[in-house]
């Protein structure tokens, strides 16, 4: 355990930047390649890296399994919620026109919300899968 000092310190330095990069990919998805899916995988990668270096129990303190499991349906709920909101505004499913006064703004908002939903679900799914496979036969 003592020998991996460099690994631990190095990881601690890298981890925040991974999360930052995930958020960059998420919100820059409007202007360049990126989006919720990629960002979700990157941010899940952060949790998985943390778990590999500091142990699964430590990882479960920062990302409890129940929270991770709830993130999966939550993201889908955000996605479907935008669709249902557009239905309630009298438009077709996933027609974001009603979200703002300007057509383009409305669509930008709509896609932003949907992408956040994607981020939450993808991140949750990846970490939940990791936990499920890691735990098997050990607990």
């Amino acid at each position: 355990m003592r020998l991996d000092l460099i690994l631990r310190v190095g990881a601690k330095l890298v981890l925040p930047f991974i999360l930052l990069f995930a958020l960059y990919v998420q919100f820059h998805g409007d202007y360049g390649p990126g989006g919720g899916f990629q960002a979700g995988v990157i941010s899940a990668g952060m949790v998985i890296l943390y778990a590999i270096i500091f142990g699964v129990h430590a990882a479960k303190r920062i990302a409890p399994p129940i929270m991770v499991e709830m993130m999966v349906p939550l993201g889908v709920a955000i996605f479907t919620g935008t669709g249902v909101a557009s239905l309630l505004m009298g438009n077709n499913f996933l027609d974001y026109t009603g979200f703002a006064h300007d057509y383009l703004h409305a669509h930008e908002w709509g896609i932003l919300i949907v992408e956040i939903g994607v981020l939450v679900t993808v991140c949750g799914t990846m970490v939940a899968m990791f936990y499920a496979f890691v735990q098997r036969g050990r607990s």
């Binding site: 479907t80 249902v84 239905l87 309630l88 505004m89 077709n92 499913f93």
Partner: protein, 505 residues
């Protein structure tokens, strides 16, 4: 904001058919309580038939398809949902089966699934339902693939949670075969996209007729057709690509078997019909590949070989699964003959078989609930202990044989008429001969359950609870009713057949 008035809701019905089960699935994951999950699933499952039947009726009245633009994007650019006579009909079949079996689900699932997986089980059920309805309602080739995979992934889980460890292997084998099938389908769609630059079924149809003339593109189109037909045949378990089906149905929990036997293969059959008839057009399909002949031969092989396998089976669920393969043979036979009577018979058999087979599997599910096994050795003499359940089984079995006065007779009658219309008299003989084999396997299980001394396990059993008997007898009642009043099945099926075959003449 009068978004909840009927005038505002009605145009949104096509999307609600997929969104409601999806929202229901979400709700069940948040509730994490098996009873609440069952309640949500039941409420959701019972709203869907009303929506789908309303859609079907309005399509039949106007004769025009209902087109729903998701995100309000115009047809070839965005994804559209499209309800016409065919899809409305199949949607109604799936939605009705999905609803009727829900009262059965609670006790059966409680008995066969462990507590912590139970609410997830309903989540998977609702996702599967959403996927199956999505396959049928979508007007986009790639979207159909996505729904195909949503329903399949949920199905693998539904099967894998069976108590017997063989359920795991069955689910694994189904996962391999199902994924190969879906991937072959998506390869075909990819080739079509390269040739035409579109994924919308209607748009594909209009562009393909131009592409087929170009000798450079013809090969790609014909290859795509081959990939799609083989891929979907795997999904719908056309003989000899049915190897995944018997084990999957035999070892899945009773509720899952009853649901899948009635709906899963039917959605794949729908997609095959949609692609072959609406996108390629019968003329183009038959000119370029001998698909009609091949499918007729395979269907007849299925009718005989799968039926014979059923005769020698000693596990009642596996026996019915083999019988499903044979019955799918009847459906594909009529589709391959591709005349008005054949299409009508096949489409009618989609509904009739769904009703009869679900009833049979529900009866076995009730037996499994009381006895804990469906092996012939364990359920012998069960008829005396569970007379209502096994009487329902016998009536539905009569329907499966094609006895006059039941729904099964109607569809086989139309298939025979179709064969005569096309001058294939030998096929008529084969239809009758294969029905005689089904008399043997239904007769065998009837002998086991009624005329033998009760086995040790069966002697302790008592009649199934009312929540299981009601859906069972509803379906059995429908089997008999649809044997006399055929407006709902044959009437709608012939409208759909007329629409599909319009291009042929």
């Amino acid at each position: 904001m009068n978004a909840l008035s009927w005038g505002a809701v009605e145009p949104q019905l096509p999307i609600l058919l997929v969104v409601i089960p999806l929202l229901g699935a979400l709700l069940t994951t948040f509730l994490r309580n098996s009873f609440m999950a069952w309640l949500v699933a039941t409420v959701v499952a019972f709203t869907l038939p009303f929506i789908s039947i309303h859609l079907l009726v309005s399509v039949l009245e106007t004769g025009q398809p209902i087109v729903y633009k998701i995100g309000n994007w115009e047809a070839p650019f965005g994804i559209v949902y499209r309800v016409d006579q065919l899809s409305g009909y199949v949607l109604s079949v799936i939605a009705i089966i999905g609803a009727v079996i829900m009262p059965f689900a609670r006790r059966s699932v409680a008995a066969e699934i462990e507590e912590r997986a139970r609410s997830w089980y309903y989540t998977m059920y609702l996702l599967c339902l959403a996927g199956l309805l999505g396959i049928v309602i979508t007007g986009d080739a790639f979207n159909a693939f996505v729904f195909l995979e949503i329903s399949s992934l949920a199905t693998y889980v539904l099967i894998a949670l069976g108590k017997n460890r063989r359920a795991l292997l069955a689910a694994y084998q189904y996962l391999i075969m199902g994924t190969i099938g879906a991937t072959l389908y998506v390869i075909g769609v990819g080739l079509l996209y390269v040739v035409t630059g579109t994924l919308n079924f209607d748009d594909l149809a209009s562009r393909l007729s131009a592409a087929i003339i170009d000798p450079g593109q013809r090969n790609a189109v014909v290859t795509a057709l081959g990939f799609i037909v083989v891929g979907l045949s795997l999904k719908l378990a056309l003989f000899p690509m049915h190897m995944w089906l018997p084990n999957a149905y035999a070892y899945a929990p009773s509720f899952a078997t009853a649901f899948l036997a009635g709906t899963a293969t039917k959605a794949a059959i729908y997609l095959l019909v949609r692609v072959v008839f609406s996108v390629f057009g019968v003329g183009m399909t038959l000119e370029n590949l001998p698909i009609g002949e091949v499918v007729i031969v395979l269907s007849i092989a299925a009718m005989f070989l799968a039926s014979i396998s059923a005769v020698f089976e000693t596990n009642a669920k596996r026996m019915l699964a083999y019988s499903s393969v044979a019955q799918i043979g009847y459906i594909t036979l009529g589709i391959a003959i591709a005349n008005q009577a054949g299409m009508t018979g096949s489409l009618a058999h989609i509904a009739n078989h769904a009703i009869m087979k679900t009833a049979l599997f529900l009866a076995l599910g009730a037996v499994f609930y009381r006895v804990g096994s469906v092996l012939y050795s364990d359920i012998s003499g069960i008829g005396r202990k569970m007379p209502l359940t096994m009487a329902a089984f016998a009536v539905a079995g009569l329907g499966l044989m094609g006895t006059p006065g039941t729904a099964g007779f109607i569809s086989k009658w139309y298939l025979a008429v179709a064969a005569i219309d096309d001058g294939m008299y030998s096929v008529v003989f084969l239809i009758v001969a294969s029905s005689l084999i089904s008399v043997v396997y239904i007769g065998r299980i009837t002998e086991v359950v009624w005329f033998r001394e009760p086995s040790k396990a069966a002697a302790k059993a008592k009649e199934a609870p009312l929540s299981m008997l009601i859906p069972l007898w509803l379906l059995v009642g429908a089997t008999i009713y649809l044997g006399f009043d055929t407006r709902a099945t044959v009437g709608t099926a012939s409208e759909a057949a007329k629409m599909l075959l319009e291009g042929v003449q």
